[in-house]
């Protein structure tokens, strides 16, 4: 995947980021950190799409939707809630 696709997901989901050796991204929902992912710095670096997808806990179709406009943040929260990664009490 491309760097701008990664960044599109990070922006869409409102993930917290920190630039360290890599660019780290965390999804915090209602004060709880629920998923994390990362990418290397630099546009030419290889980003292992399938591993980033697994970190985000989505299937290929959902991941493609995150990159495009098909899956919104609300959709993603619902996906994580259905998987039990977000507690249904805190899901809105």
């Amino acid at each position: 995947m491309k760097v701008h696709e990664f960044e599109r997901i990070v922006t869409k989901l409102g993930m917290e980021t920190r630039d360290s050796r890599d660019r780290l991204a965390w999804l915090v929902h209602d004060g709880v950190t629920v998923v994390r992912t990362r990418r290397s710095h630099g546009k030419g670096k290889y980003l292992p799409e399938h591993l980033i997808r697994q970190q985000l806990k989505v299937n290929e179709l959902q991941f493609a939707g995150l990159i495009s406009c098909d899956v919104t943040k609300e959709d993603y929260i619902k996906i994580l809630t259905e998987k039990g990664i977000i507690s249904s009490k805190s899901a809105k």
């Binding site: 965390w26 629920v34 290889y46």
Partner: protein, 157 residues
Amino acid sequence: MAAVAVEIIKPTFEILTPGTLEVAEPSSGVTKEALQLPRQTPPPPQQPMTQAVLIMGSTLPSARPEKQICLGVLRDPEYRLRKPIPLSVSVEESEVVLAWSEIDEFGRGETTSAALDDFGETLRELYSKLHAPEVRLGADLQRVKQVLDEYIEPRTR
């Protein structure tokens, strides 16, 4: 008394003796047919030798098969391994990618050594993040933290 016609059939072969340099042309008649090759007929159609093989799975097999290695030592001044971490090794777009499927973590680099360094650094950052006192973790990251605690511990000074 009935006459019986007896036809003397000439032999259709010729016995060659040692020293024979030339074979005489057969005389006309039956003997020439014996020299003709049988009519060639194509064999009946059969199943082709090569057939397409359906491969079940999302990806085609790589020419360089995935293998497993174990990370036995963490080159870190603060943390060390309690036990080796099993990693799958693959080469993707000329990069070595190491993946720890149990917690969906990976490292990558131009060489296996560089990928191991990347993976070690990643583990260090992940461990410290998940053990930060102010962080509240969801169910999956709590599990990740537990797995990390099985494999990693702070070095005692």
